[in-house]
């Protein structure tokens, strides 16, 4: 009995002490915490519009106004997470056209002082009533040009109707989005 007590006492103490004092963390490298980053990729809608021939009319004369434009401030481009952590943006622009003429699209990104940072130009293919034609355009801004986005605050969309003989009637539908990649 004495031997059993002695054995149990010693073995219990040994196990308890061994486990507690040998308690340590192995096979890990905590310095890796400095490499931890959040890298979200966000798909974000930007601008939309759907216009017909009335938007191309001069309100005073009723004549065709071949060049129209509008400006939208994108205030979020000035936020900290864009200024510090944005690594790339892939813009996507899509026009669906039933006007029977080509239309030149110019999308410009301007700074607060209206200095042009970058621009995306392309020709919207002509469509027809009942036969909409889709034109798509991508613009990838990677790390080497990302400052252009960071300096931008305004997005200007301009449309210029190209000359033609057919009646200028139809609709133009615009969709746009940005694929924003961050590294926090």
């Amino acid at each position: 009995m004495k031997f059993l007590s002695f054995f149990l006492t010693k073995s219990t103490s040994l196990i308890a002490i061994s486990c507690l004092f040998l308690g340590c963390a192995k096979d890990i490298d905590l310095s890796q915490r400095e490499d931890i980053t959040l890298s979200p990729d966000l798909q974000v809608d930007l601008l939309i519009y759907n216009i017909d021939q009335s938007q191309f009319q001069n309100p005073n004369t009723g004549n065709l106004k071949t060049r129209i434009s509008d400006t939208v401030r994108l205030e979020f481009l000035d936020d900290d997470y864009i200024q510090k952590d944005l690594s790339s943006v892939d813009f996507y622009f899509r026009h669906i056209n039933t006007f029977p003429r080509e239309i030149e699209s110019e999308i410009r990104f301007l700074s607060e002082s209206n200095a042009e940072q970058f621009t995306v130009n392309y020709t919207i293919k002509p469509g027809a009533n009942g036969n909409p034609v889709t034109t798509e355009q991508y613009e990838l801004i990677e790390e080497d040009r990302i400052n252009l986005v960071r300096r931008s605050i305004k997005m200007v969309v301009e449309l210029e109707v190209q000359p033609g003989t057919s009646a200028f009637e139809g609709e133009l539908d615009f969709a746009s989005k940005g694929f924003f990649s961050f590294e926090f």
Binding site: I15, P40, I48, I51
Partner: protein, 467 residues
């Protein structure tokens, strides 16, 4: 008798909790009265060494361990984090519980009654892994189009408090011992956010206005805090100042609450003993230094729509962004209020059956009723804690061995959310009246805690009187 068993089992199925199983039903230790005020006890008085009678720390994570994140294997840590987050789900949790006994004492009033009292400080934090918001922050919405991110996943509780308690252990007859402990809680800090709702989804819209539609539906996220606002407002507060501020609330200066522990043990026959307890049936009324942060609303958008021309009727540029922002602010709102709230303590419960063999006889004492004790006890214990999304259970089997009158150990094996190989060990030794004890769970994990999902340690020292 069987009615009693049925009652226990029924009760166990509704409220069960994990709570220091190695100290449960250890009749040599006064700490057993803290987990079951109706425990069978085998001493006539005790005085804890102030600040050292019980130090308890436990921490656990069901979904990830340190190795999962920080493995030194040459791989990219961010890939490991991403993989680990994907493997976890919103019912995985992280928990930390710490108790520090400041004062503990007790004495036999007469043959049937033992009074115990004391003060301890407790910190308890329980955080469910907010999977959807975490993945949205880490990966974004691009790989999760048409899949909702649920804000319901945000659920956590955290509190620091001082507990003043007074308990009575009453030997009803030779079979039944019952006990109760009244508790007064002095809250130092509390933060909780439970029952949140809402989801954010980015839908692809092939026939819609834009490529996507971003939709936020039924968002209602509420974070209640008490004791946080003064710390937040004090700019430049040092850690020492913040600690002093928190400690000043320990002595009835903070938010107060009341609670009750109940317990019993019943000797079915000479060798079978049933015992059960419920701890912390109580609440804290958060009235002081309260701040509530609420985010709520619903909104959907496919982008900003310019109107052509870009000048309004006053020939001024149309502020599309401001209009958009106002609309978002009207629909997705945030509020900071100072409304009192009540927090229920995490109820803990234990139920145990044990079988004793190898009888030994105690020294005779006029205050001691229990005449026979067993050198060996084989037992099983079901336990758990009520948490915001349900009960967290543990099932423990144990061998409780009295080596001699002064030494005892308890070897346990537990099944719980953290591990299937949780082996625990408790050892206690008394030198004359001076007792020390040490208990640790999940011993197999101690050689490399980086791969452990949980670990817990209790230790303490006190004077225990038997005559």
């Amino acid at each position: 008798m069987w009615r009693l068993i049925c009652f226990f089992l029924l009760f166990s199925s509704t409220v069960l909790a994990q709570n220091k199983p190695l100290l449960f039903n250890v009749d040599d230790l006064p700490q057993t009265l803290m987990s079951n005020p109706g425990a069978q006890i085998n001493f006539t008085g005790h005085i804890g060494i102030p600040l050292f009678s019980q130090i308890h720390v436990s921490a656990g994570s069901t979904g990830a361990d340190l190795y999962d994140i920080f493995a030194d294997d040459g791989a990219n840590i961010n890939s490991r984090i991403q993989e680990t987050m994907r493997d976890m789900d919103s019912r995985d949790y992280f928990s930390v519980n710490q108790q520090w006994e400041i004062i503990s004492l007790g004495w036999k009033l007469d043959k049937k009654n033992y009074l115990s009292t004391g003060v301890y400080q407790e910190m308890d934090a329980f955080v469910y892994f907010p999977k959807d918001p975490a993945i949205l922050a880490n990966e974004g919405n691009s790989n999760y189009l048409n899949e909702p991110f649920y804000f319901d996943d945000v659920s956590f509780t955290g509190e620091i408090m001082t507990v003043y308690h007074l308990g009575i252990n009453h030997k009803f007859d030779k079979r039944l011992t019952v006990g109760a402990r009244a508790k007064f809680y002095s809250g130092i800090f509390n933060a909780e956010s439970t029952g949140n709702t809402g989801r954010f989804t980015t839908y692809t819209t092939p026939n819609g206005r834009n490529v996507y539609r971003h939709e936020v539906v039924d968002v209602d996220v509420l974070i209640n805090t008490s004791g946080f606002a003064p710390l937040k407002d004090e700019e430049g507060m040092t850690v020492e100042q913040a600690t002093a501020e928190l400690l000043s609330r320990s002595f009835f200066g903070g938010n107060v609450g009341f609670g009750l522990d109940l317990g019993l043990s019943y000797i079915l026959d000479e060798q079978f003993i049933l015992s059960g307890s419920v701890q912390d049936l109580g609440a804290v009324f958060q009235r002081k230094e309260v701040e509530n942060y609420r985010y709520f609303g619903a909104y959907e958008t496919s982008g900003i729509e310019p109107l052509f021309p870009d000048l309004d009727e006053n020939d001024e540029a149309i502020p599309y962004w401001d209009i958009f922002e106002d609309e978002v602010d009207r629909n997705l709102r945030d509020q900071t209020t100072n409304q009192s709230y009540t927090t229920w303590r995490p109820i803990k419960a234990n139920f145990a059956m044990e079988y004793g063999f190898g009888p030994a006889f105690l020294p005779c004492h006029y205050l001691s009723v229990k005449k026979v004790r067993y050198m060996n006890l084989l037992g099983m214990q079901l336990s758990g804690v009520k948490r915001p999304k349900g009960f967290v259970y543990a099932f423990t089997t144990y061998w409780d061995r009295k080596i001699n009158e002064n030494q005892r150990f308890k070897l346990s094996y537990s099944l719980d959310d953290y591990s299937l190989t949780n082996i625990g060990l408790m050892y206690t030794r008394t030198f004359n009246k001076f007792n020390v004890y040490l208990a640790a769970n999940n011993l197999l994990a101690f050689p490399n805690l980086a791969k452990a999902h949980s670990a817990s340690v209790q230790l303490g020292m006190q004077l225990i009187f038997n005559n």
